[in-house]
């Protein structure tokens, strides 16, 4: 008997859709309710980052890197600043390095909390979203104490930081660590090990490790497929080699390795590892001046540099070409979300429309990062 088929249907998902995490448009080709092809259409948030980088001086580019991946502004700043510092060949004081690590780990927690909360929201669970945003407010409060801004900071400067941390920040960070551990346990009980949630996410959108590696997928999305690859360990930058933490990978505790649940749970576990790093760093911050190495004028010699860092979304790299003037000749950003989204067609085929929402959510994309 010939296989029963319905007429092919094209469905537009987005750019205004509550679960596309921004202004992404997915063109779905459907056979009944089964997805045959997913075509992401990008460019709804193209904000001309590279053009701006050409027209600005080196320090002026930092606020634009904030706005690329707005959920983890600190990590973006850090990656760009490290690339400029490599070009300049300057050493920053150890105190600065410690504070940078603490800030980017706090940012990782904030970013992962948004990822977990909105993922719950995608699956129809509103409560984890409310809890996660409540906890995220506490992290943002710490940033506010240090630099005054909640989301986009311009905090990490070339050669230093805009403000030194205060004793209040240290005590509040310690309080946060104590507060977050039981909260994460609660969120895990509420969402991660919830039967309904597991039914929605386990064995959905299985991403085999070799496909992930070939497509340049990185970050928790790659680690969800069981690949133990984290730039903080594999290619340590800043002072990450001083800290003791584990790389979280998807182990198939529920579902199978590489499915949506495993990608999701890596983020929940990584929050604990970030707390560990902060715990180790916060007690051993050396004394020093955070602005002693800030150059009066950032004017590197002609050359190029590339620095890659582990942002909460994956491998974030900045490639800078300098022609010896005050402005960068070219800045290319290798954004993790852009590479991660490229596998969506391969792993969504054969699933239902509702599963596409879960698959997309499990990548934790940020459109500012994709379109730049």
């Amino acid at each position: 008997m010939a296989e029963l088929r319905t007429e092919e249907m094209i469905l537009n998902m987005g750019p205004q859709h509550p679960s596309t995490h921004g202004v992404l448009r997915l063109v779905l080709t459907l056979n009944g309710e089964i997805v045959e092809e997913v075509k992401p259409v990008l460019g709804y948030l193209h904000r001309c980052f590279e053009k701006h980088a050409e027209a600005m001086t080196y320090p002026q580019v930092i606020p634009y890197t904030d706005r690329m991946d707005y959920l983890n502004a600190m990590s973006n700043e850090l990656a760009y600043v490290l690339a400029v510092e490599k070009l300049l060949g300057i050493e920053v004081p150890e105190r600065v390095e410690y504070i940078r690590v603490i800030m980017s780990e706090l940012q990782r927690i904030a970013s992962h909390l948004v990822a977990i909360g909105t993922y719950g929201n995608d699956s129809g669970a509103m409560t984890p979203f409310l809890y996660c945003f409540m906890d995220r407010e506490k992290v943002l409060e710490l940033f506010e104490i240090v630099c005054g801004a909640r989301m986009l900071y311009n905090y990490i400067w070339v050669g230093g930081l805009s403000h030194d941390i205060t004793p209040e920040f240290i005590t509040k960070t310690k309080e946060l660590i104590k507060y977050l551990r039981p909260r994460m346990k609660m969120i895990n009980n509420l969402l991660s090990y919830n039967k309904i949630f597991i039914e929605r996410t386990a064995k959905i959108g299985i991403l085999p490790p070799e496909v992930a590696i070939n497509a340049g997928v990185s970050g928790p999305t790659l680690r969800g497929s069981g690949v133990k690859y984290d730039l903080r360990k594999s290619d340590p930058y800043s002072i990450y080699n001083k800290f003791d933490f584990d790389i979280c990978v998807g182990t198939g505790e529920r579902g199978v390795v590489g499915d949506c649940w495993n990608r999701y749970i890596v983020r929940a576990y990584e929050i604990e590892q970030s707390l560990r790093i902060i715990e180790q760093a916060i007690d051993s911050i050396p004394e020093g001046d955070v602005q002693s190495a800030v150059p009066k004028r950032v004017k590197p010699v002609a050359g190029e540099s590339y620095v890659r860092t582990e942002s909460p979304k994956g491998e974030l790299g900045y490639y800078i070409i300098s022609d010896g003037s005050l402005n960068p000749y070219r800045v290319k950003a290798r954004s993790p979300s852009f590479c991660n989204i490229s596998v969506i067609n391969q792993i969504s085929r054969g699933h239902m429309i509702a599963d596409v929402v879960m698959i997309l959510g499990s990548f934790d994309i940020v459109l500012g990062c994709i379109d730049r």
């Binding site: 001309c48 053009k51 706005r67 707005y70 945003f133 407010e137 943002l140 909640r150 989301m151």
Partner: protein, 169 residues
């Protein structure tokens, strides 16, 4: 009598029965400003602050503002972020799909005037008011949740002063 207290001086109530006298304007405006349903629609960085505002810490629900995914259900649209040229046509279309009366709140510098992208942003619309009329502008990059709440209260004030008979600017 919570509802009647809010209508305060515009209401005349009779002691004996369930009869109140008020003007049509007052009643309509009061009902509109107390349940401004918002489009579930985020553009860029400001959308995260918008989400933070509607989450538990700042709680937009207490103003009667509930996000709805369809433009046909909503009264206000928060333009929360950078409007690119590619997105501008979509926003115009979404605006056209909304039933009247409809209100626009432009959130953040990008939606107000192009923000940090005003000079070199070849793909950025320099202000959402070039395509749709804006009621309230909230400055900031991104505005704090308190600033957004202030903007929404300003919008409520604006609705309170509306009139069916005469057009108010």
């Amino acid at each position: 009598m919570g509802i009647l207290n809010k209508l305060d001086n515009s209401v005349e109530q009779f002691e004996s029965g369930n009869i109140i006298i008020t003007s049509m304007d007052k009643l309509l405006n009061w009902s509109r400003l107390s349940s401004m349903w918002q489009m579930f629609f985020g553009l860029a960085c400001c959308a995260i602050e918008m989400m933070a505002t509607s989450a538990s810490h700042y709680d937009l629900d207490r103003f009667g503002i509930i996000p709805r995914p369809s433009p046909r259900h909503v009264d206000i649209i928060l333009i929360s972020g950078t409007v690119t040229l590619k997105m501008a046509t979509r926003i115009k279309r979404l605006y056209d799909e909304m039933p009247a009366p409809k209100y626009i709140l432009s959130m953040g510098s990008c939606a107000n005037c192009g923000g940090p992208y005003w000079e070199h942003g070849y793909h950025v619309l320099k202000g959402i008011d070039r395509i749709i009329p804006v009621d309230v502008y909230v400055p900031g990059c991104p505005p704090r949740p308190e600033a957004l709440l202030e903007g929404l209260i300003k919008l409520q004030e604006r609705i309170r002063n509306q009139s069916l008979a005469k057009h108010t600017a």
